[in-house]
Symmetry: D2
């Protein structure tokens, strides 16, 4: 079994370090909050007096801290973890932090010949408690393979996203979508209520349609990602429906800011001539606004 | 079998009227485009010289037209359908139109003692061809029950949403969400690509998380709709992640307008004190901006 | 002096019809609200029993009604004004209505050989009371010249914007900017207060900079509208400043939705390569998203 | 005359250090770009081999660097400026940086007993060349008074905004508004062109109205900031006009993302009951979304 240093024992780190202990690993823990350390010691963890002490002479050192500057400070601050790491220790940052910071940290460690995997997780603290997290790992294949001992104790599935930084990037892209979708969901249900509908019944309807079930494994796979934008549902009709909704909501004084922003992209897509195409052609409009290389479409 | 007038034989109306014919109904069809009429006559429909002729002396008259003004004109314009309807005919509008227009039409018909159901549909033309539409019906229970003969031929499921106008409202709310989600999906995949990720692998990740699978039958049911906003995933952390994404994307010159709009709602939610609560508490923020009555939450 | 029918005696119409009376015109007035009529009769107006009566046998008929459907109904509804108009009367709509509706009305009147000017106004009711409105007139030059007798009594300046519909369009474009700027101003001052600044002092600062004084007659004239996008203030620096502001405000939980939407356009502009150019090059980005023909720039 | 260290000789710093030299000050200059140093030495500056050398034993040290991390690194990085400063030198940062960074820098210097003024500037490089900048100064009154020798050489007006950090905050708030207004201006002119209007004529109109001239020293001063929201122009009418514009633009496929975001705030304001009030009441809506203390209004 492995010797593991674990730094950051909050909602997530507590559950993860406990799962590592339950999987018979030896776990040295540190948190700036002493009572967080005590909780884990009571469950079989070893208390470390500092992050560097938690990290010295381990097989793995894991950080699960709030944000990027916390990880940077813990590693490279005075008396930080980096001073305690050797080339025999694999450093694994599982916090959700900015990609630029992951890159900066990876460069710093690389200059010291220390190997690293960025491995933020999907799933809430409840999922962490069950050891069912989704691990999004970025790093060399051999390092990710080595880290699997840790990942198996805390997660249900590991996806190797690519080189260092891709774990963080995948996590950020994923959470971009989920956190924005949260607001869209909130707008939709407030709209339903403001329109006088039964919200529970509306939820039932949405649960059975694209609205509630999403596009990524449906229409997008079949259509635009398959280079096919022949209309299954026409983009101009989609734009019509969205504008009907916005006008109706305006009359009821129901703000729909996410929807209003979306409607402007339909205008751009129609201005580009995609009105007659499948609504998933909106992807190409977004790609163009970001100056990504143009896609080709079948039969065009 | 029923006598049915069907007006509007476009992408949807063609498939639906054909399914009615296949179900052994007698169908009189009209479209301003004569070739659309011919196509259905070739399949067993009866050509009508006008919308009013299609509508006279039928059990049901169905409209499947582009937008609200088209339905209004077809009904109440000079020599329109309304002049041909009697109290024995049930009028069913299946177009997606503005709720205000549905209300206006319902009032107009009610004043003439003509019964109506608003029954817009979920599903694309492909779904319509398979007779698998979702029917969102608004009207008296007895009228919806009577219309079931029509709905059975074109759809797989009918949801009775409430009184007249609720079918249209449910449809508009549903399509609000799906059409906005389309743009959010497009942003997310453009973001993934711009961040240098493998898009196909990212789609696989999203397909397994809340990002791609949605909230409506998951977190919302468990949490805010259940009056529980104790944090499963904290709203302040969600806001942090979204802002990390927006900052990272800004550095890459990737526009994310829907996400940027969403981030402002997190600011409002945090200003209201919901940062420590579950991210689904965003619903209450949206409800407050619309001046809906305040929800109560367990333990608060 | 002219014989004038005036329909719509609200906040604006009251002041304008009074000014017409004060300028010695004979004014027949109508409003669905009888007390509004009485107020003007007390000042020398002639009461009309209907809009049509107010309109019959006049030199000019003016409408100043809330919105487009009101004007349409007043003109073309049963017993409407159009039935009372002849080719000798000039119809002047001064309401702020949708351009599509102005076009529809103009077509309807033209088919009846009745001449029309669309002439919405700039200025609040206070300005109307002083007879100082800005008149944005659309129509044939001869009709606008003829209408000048009316305009002189209610306004301080008339701008002939072009053919029928251009008055309304200019008004809509103008009010688009002012109504959105109102929200931007509100965001800015809430931001200042939330940032702990003295609001009055901040207003003084803004009053002396581009922020408070605008671009249209300054930087835009000198730069992008002059086909010069060499940097006076670089677009990338402008984007940097806006993102600094959004990040700072996010930390304070101050929502800035208009600013957040604007930041996404900077991302588009930078993706297109305009980061090194003058910030006014944002115009070309907006033009491209609307598929307007590309501008040429000096030295590029 | 003063001994001045000046660090950062870009578009702005070049013009400012030259103006300091022209005002007979002794100026030691540093930039990571050697040719930038040479240009100023040719005009009478003294070359310093490092930022610290430029800073040692001066009356004032000025930084004019791209962004906050540059200033931080220059001050506190290895061998940085802070090591060379004594309590006799006044440090003046004139860069536009994040307020949090200004605060962090101020704390760092204060701990070393070094006095500082944050003094970002308004005006483009062209204005800097004329020595006509607007100086937004934050710091103790005595320090700002002492810095006046520097400010007089580079600017036309100094506004003392308050304690340390208020200069930066005022600058960020000001540039928030100007950079967002830039996009609103771009949207408006693209809209005018897409609507078929003569753009030059539209610019003339806008230049004479609130749209082009702004609110801050007009309607806001008279109305909401004066605790008076009786309607001069009703908020509901403003919302109507904005929605007319958005609908019309949607039909023309002209994206107006800033305007669309603004329209949602009108919905919130109307939901709160401000529809009948002056449109400047939007300020109170924005204040409430930021949880600022409620304003009181006359007669309410
Ligand atoms: N909570 C979730 O549902 C969830 C889901 C996925 C990812 N994440 C991510 O996981 C990370 C941790 O989240 P969390 O919910 O556990 O946060 P948390 O706030 O509950 O815990 C953070 C812990 O780190 C400790 N800490 C902070 N600075 C420290 C330092 N310098 N040294 C040592 N300890 C320090 C704190 O005392 C605290 O115990 C975040 O990046 C978060 O975005 C959270
Ligand atoms: N296409 C979809 O995937 C889909 C899905 C759900 C709902 N809808 C809704 O169904 C409705 C119809 O959509 P569609 O895709 O069939 O549109 P379509 O444009 O393909 O067909 C509309 C038909 O109506 C005819 N028409 C127009 N005005 C008419 C009039 N005054 N009298 C008679 N005929 C007239 C047209 O000639 C055309 O054949 C719309 O409201 C749409 O929003 C469409
Ligand atoms: N108030 C302003 O500051 C301002 C400024 C510029 C433009 N406008 C525009 O001027 C128009 C009028 O604005 P207002 O402020 O006077 O509005 P208002 O609501 O004060 O007045 C409208 C008047 O029209 C009457 N009316 C409504 N329907 C009618 C009908 N069918 N027949 C006869 N009378 C009818 C009402 O009774 C009312 O007296 C609007 O289009 C508005 O957008 C207003
Ligand atoms: N340009 C304007 O119109 C304008 C107007 C107002 C405020 N500002 C602000 O003024 C500041 C400077 O803007 P600018 O337009 O002069 O930028 P610039 O990019 O033209 O110049 C920056 C200079 O700093 C130098 N530099 C960067 N890092 C350095 C370091 N570590 N040590 C020494 N020198 C370093 C660069 O070599 C360059 O010469 C920015 O914060 C900007 O936002 C600019």
């Amino acid at each position: 079994m492995a010797q593991i240093g674990f730094i950051g024992l909050g909602r997530m780190g507590f559950a993860m370090s406990r799962n590592l202990i339950d999987a018979s690993h030896s776990v040295w823990v540190y948190d700036i909050n002493p009572s967080a350390v005590e909780r884990i010691v009571a469950l079989g963890g070893h208390a470390a007096a500092s992050a560097a002490e938690a990290a010295a002479n381990r097989d793995f050192v894991v950080t699960m801290l709030p944000n990027g500057p916390d990880v940077e400070e813990t590693l490279f601050g005075a008396g930080g973890v980096a001073t305690a790491l050797t080339k025999d220790t694999l450093f694994i940052d599982m916090s959700t932090i900015a990609p630029d910071m992951t890159d900066k940290i990876a460069r710093g460690l690389s200059a010291m010949n220390i190997r690293m995997v960025d491995a933020p997780v999907g799933g809430t603290s409840e999922v962490a408690e069950r050891g069912d997290l989704l691990i999004l790992a970025g790093g060399d294949a051999s390092d990710v393979a080595r880290a699997q001992a840790v990942f198996d104790a805390v997660g249900r599935q590991t996806i190797h996203c690519g080189e260092n930084g891709t774990g963080t990037r995948t996590k950020i892209v994923n959470n971009f979508m989920s956190t924005a979708l949260n607001i869209l969901t909130a707008e939709t249900l407030a709209f339903a209520e403001g329109a006088g509908l039964d919200v529970a019944r509306t939820v039932d309807v949405l649960a059975g349609t694209t609205a509630g079930r999403g596009f990524v494994s449906g229409a997008y796979q079949r259509k635009v990602l398959n280079h096919d934008i022949s209309p299954e549902f026409g983009l101009a009709l989609a734009a019509k429906d969205l504008n009907l909704a916005l006008n109706y909501a305006a009359g009821l004084n129901i703000p729909l800011p996410v929807g209003a922003a979306a409607s402007q992209i339909y205008a751009m897509a129609k201005a580009e001539g995609f009105g007659v195409n499948d609504w998933s052609a909106a992807l190409e409009t977004m790609r163009r606004t970001a100056a990504l290389p143009r896609m080709s479409f079948d039969g065009q």
